[in-house]
């Protein structure tokens, strides 16, 4: 039996012909990176290849690394294997990785969403034979509403808190979700304050995207000046003394997990907004269909359930264990990045 174009090894997804890894979780010589989240872009590889919009992100996160940036759709060959990056719509600079050899095409999605969020280049379906997909929210219970509606709710919530003289604290992952929230906050309502982790990442992205003005919270920031305004904070800040100093405040989280009534309560958060940077159930099914792929490999999320459903729909679908974490970080923010922030 011939070796598949991409294999799942103990270090990551591997192309043995090109001797290159996709989003490896162990240090390797050459890695193609889908996007800047910690579980997909790890430290310690000798060479990184990624989309040029992701370059400032991973340089900021990983420090001095050897990285080269590519354009959307720009092809590059490694040992006769043809590679190209295509928008994944997940966060700024997030790509799907297309791999072609002798007429056979594989696509690895990294993380993706089909909804256009206005700041990440919108997702494009890519025709392929084998589609390696995440399925973080691969259950029919997950259905996203248009982000316009979600942001209207968020801004209304902020206004209500303001009228009660309280500070609004909104939690979102410091890379991706925080900037998406920032982009659509209504600056007529009040000022936007940021936690250091979010401020730093946003500064990195300002040259690429136009964001509203933010004010970093420092030791000298008086809690009185926060009243009526909004604070963007990473989920790891929840329950910290940093937050508790801001009383009176109201907290909210924006995540796909807020679909579940219990999720908000278990985290002791006052309000939950359903807003995700991943596909919902129908989004996954539609994109799979659009690729025309006959083989589907599910990496992270509800992989077993999702692949069983795909099998019943006539796909040759299977599950592969990886070390990607899905949106879990938003609920259990103990990734290195968040802790250090």
């Amino acid at each position: 039996m011939k070796t598949p174009l991409l294999e799942f090894t103990s270090k990551g997804i591997y192309c043995s012909i090109a001797k290159v890894y996709l989003d490896p979780w162990k240090p390797v010589d050459k890695a193609i990176i889908s996007h800047g989240h910690a579980d997909h872009s790890r430290w310690g590889h000798k060479a990184y290849i990624t989309h040029h919009r992701n370059v400032p992100i991973i340089l900021h996160r990983l420090g001095e690394i050897n990285v080269s940036g590519k354009e959307w759709g720009e092809t590059f060959f490694i040992n006769n294997v043809k590679f190209s990056l295509h928008p994944a719509g997940h966060i700024i600079g997030s790509s799907q990785i297309r791999v072609e050899h002798k007429g056979e095409v594989w696509v690895f999605t990294g993380d993706y969403k089909v909804q256009d969020d206005g700041i990440s280049t919108p997702y494009e379906p890519i025709k392929c034979n084998t589609f390696i997909t995440e399925c973080t929210f691969g259950l029919p219970a997950f259905k996203w509403v248009a982000q316009k509606e979600v942001f209207e709710n968020i801004n209304r919530w902020w206004s209500e808190n303001k009228s009660e003289g309280k500070t609004s604290i909104l939690f979102g992952y410091s890379l991706g979700k925080a900037q998406r929230l920032l982009k659509y906050l209504e600056t007529d309502i009040g000022k936007i304050y940021t936690h250091g982790a979010i401020e730093n990442m946003t500064q990195v992205l300002r040259p690429l995207i136009d964001f509203p003005k933010t004010t970093l919270i420092t030791r000298d920031t008086k809690k009185e000046e926060l009243l009526g305004n909004i604070v963007l904070a990473p989920p790891s800040a929840h329950g910290s003394t940093w937050i508790r100093k801001m009383v009176p405040y109201v907290t909210a989280s924006a995540s796909g997990w807020m679909t579940f009534r219990g999720a908000r309560r278990r985290r002791a958060i006052d309000k939950g907004f359903v807003l995700s940077d991943h596909c919902d159930w129908q989004g996954l099914l539609n994109s799979i269909e659009a690729t025309g792929a006959e083989k589907i490999i599910c990496t992270h999320g509800y992989t077993e359930i999702f692949s069983r459903y795909l099998q019943e729909q006539g796909y040759d679908a299977r599950t592969e264990e990886t070390q990607y974490e899905g949106e879990l970080n938003e609920l259990n923010p103990t990734s290195k990045e968040e802790v250090e922030a």
Partner: protein, 531 residues
């Protein structure tokens, strides 16, 4: 329905009691009288009988959602709530109905007698005209059991706020059997009734667990020690030849314990006793397990009365000859109580005896005996203490026995619910047992899903995914490898359990990374803990 769904949403999205009371009070001041009666009924668990069984609900919901039944079941397992799952998977719609809560409930009552085809048509029609949250509430009304943290107490507080009627009187008005379909708000709540005042209990005085060394409490002679019985804390009121039993949840439970009616004839009017309701099978104090069979029942059969009779273990006297004596010292109240119990001379009324100890060491020794007499530990009360209101520190302390512990092997795992639904966090543990051939095998003895840190759960989850032996739906069997110390409060023989033993409140105490599975305990070790 819009009003009611909004109310449930508000109640469900706050942990603050004051916000809940305010939301309810607001609702009670705008809702129609009929909707109010139904709301009170639903929040006090008096919903109409379930019109559609859950098997059909699941089948039809998966049909409308256009997904296979197994996928619906998997989603249900992860979401953890049937009505929520249904509301999520069926196609999203906008609200387009002005039907009231009362209309919906009347339809549901009528629905019970209809054919399956008619029921299905009714559900499809309504699932399609309600928005997500209304759909959830509508389905919840069918499946029953709103668990949204609204106690009877909270509801009476809100009603008191909007009607200006005393809370305890409202609690009395709401007790017993009344039919929301027949009664009006005027009859249920507003009409004045002299007997309402008779049942009024005093707030319970509750103790905190002891924090420091026991000897720091000072001179032993200032303190009184007694067992902390493991039943239902209650207040027994005898006034105007009537008996009222209140549970600590401030619910009237008089009807559930007919054996206490005898107190009315022997104890003078104007008496209130703080006591524990305890099971007393075969003339001995039983376990909480025994009492459980009495708690859940609406009607108590003769057979059950014989099998699990109950008694009152009296702790304290709060009212005597119609006078509130809570400010008198505990020792004074106890002396009176002893006389009352003695002169009543009833089998169902026993004294919770205080201990004669000359030193804290002796008290500590008594505590060690707690399990043998089926008590949870000791109560320490200052002899000069008044009977306070609510949970207070200083005068009373509880000193529970340490939990029992045993080392078990992780054998099965299941996904958690909600935020943990991506992780395997619900575990089954086993102990060693010798089979007929004399070989050692692992036998399941307890399930537990709390006690580890998130980081530990993630580690074990990762390990489980790599060490799965077999899959049974959502459950996986795993290679026996990890040992955990399991703590539990009580233990009793049980034929319903494979191990032959039932444990109470099992939880994970710690991960014994230092132990191999051969160092885990056996079923016979566990059985030796039974007294």
């Amino acid at each position: 329905m819009k009003n009611f769904a909004q109310l449930i949403k508000t109640l469900d999205s706050t942990n603050k009691t004051t916000t809940k009371v305010q939301a309810l009070a607001n609702y009670f001041s705008v809702a129609t009288d009929k909707d109010k009666v139904w709301t009170i009924a639903i929040l006090s668990h008096r919903r109409p009988p379930r019109p559609v069984n859950t098997t059909l609900l699941r089948k039809w919901a998966s049909e409308l959602a256009n997904i296979p039944l197994w996928l619906f079941e998997e989603s249900y397992h992860i979401v953890g709530d049937l009505a929520e799952t249904i509301a999520l998977v069926v196609p999203a719609t906008k609200s387009s109905t002005e039907k009231t809560l009362t209309q919906f409930l009347e339809e549901m009552i009528a629905l019970k007698k209809k054919t399956d085809e008619q029921k299905k048509a009714y559900l499809f029609e309504n699932w399609k005209i309600l928005d997500y949250y209304e759909r959830f509430v509508f389905t919840k009304l069918i499946t029953g059991g709103f668990r949204i943290g609204v106690s009877q107490k909270l509801m009476t507080r809100a009603l008191a706020k909007s009607t200006a009627i005393d809370q305890d009187i409202l609690a009395y008005k709401l007790m017993g059997n009344w039919n929301p379909d027949k009664i009006t708000f005027q009859q249920l709540i507003l009409e004045e009734n002299e007997s309402d005042y008779l049942s009024k209990p005093y707030p319970f005085y509750l103790a905190y667990p002891i924090e420091n060394e026991i000897a720091n409490l000072g001179d032993i002679n200032l303190w009184s020690a007694e067992h902390k019985w493991d039943g239902i804390r209650s207040q027994t009121i005898i006034r105007n030849n009537e008996l009222f039993i209140w549970s600590r949840g401030e619910e009237l439970v008089t009807d559930k314990y007919p054996e206490f009616q005898a107190l009315v004839d022997t104890i003078p009017n104007g008496t209130v006793i703080d006591a524990e309701i305890l099971p007393f099978p075969n003339g001995q104090i039983g376990t909480f397990n025994d009492l459980q069979s009495r708690i859940g029942r609406k009607t108590i059969s003769k057979n059950l009365l014989q099998k699990v009779p109950v008694i009152l273990k009296a702790y304290d006297l709060l009212e005597w000859k119609g006078e509130d004596i809570r400010n008198r010292p505990f020792s004074y109240r106890r002396d009176l109580l002893e006389k009352v119990v003695k002169s009543a001379a009833l089998n169902v009324l026993q004294l919770s005896k205080t201990m004669y100890c000359n030193s804290w060491e002796e008290v500590a020794k008594e505590r060690e005996q707690s399990r043998e007499v089926h008590s949870e530990g000791l109560m320490l009360k200052r002899k000069d203490s008044p009977y306070l209101v609510g949970r207070k520190k200083g005068d009373w302390w509880k000193w529970k026995v340490d939990p029992l512990t045993i080392d078990g092997v992780l054998t099965y795992a299941m996904r958690g619910h909600g935020r943990r639904s991506n992780l395997f966090t619900d575990y089954t543990f086993a102990l060693w047992k010798e089979n007929e051939k004399g070989e050692k095998e692992l036998v399941t003895f307890a399930k537990a899903y709390s006690g580890l840190t998130d980081a530990e759960f993630r580690k074990i989850d990762n390990w489980i995914k790599k060490n799965t032996l077999e899959r049974f739906g959502p459950v996986r069997s795993v290679t026996p490898h990890h040992v955990f110390e399991i703590a539990f409060e009580g233990i009793a023989l049980s034929s319903r359990h494979k191990s032959g033993v039932a444990t109470r409140f099992p939880r994970i105490l710690r991960w014994r990374k230092d132990k191999s599975i051969h160092e885990a305990n056996s079923i016979s070790d566990l059985k030796q803990m039974i007294i």
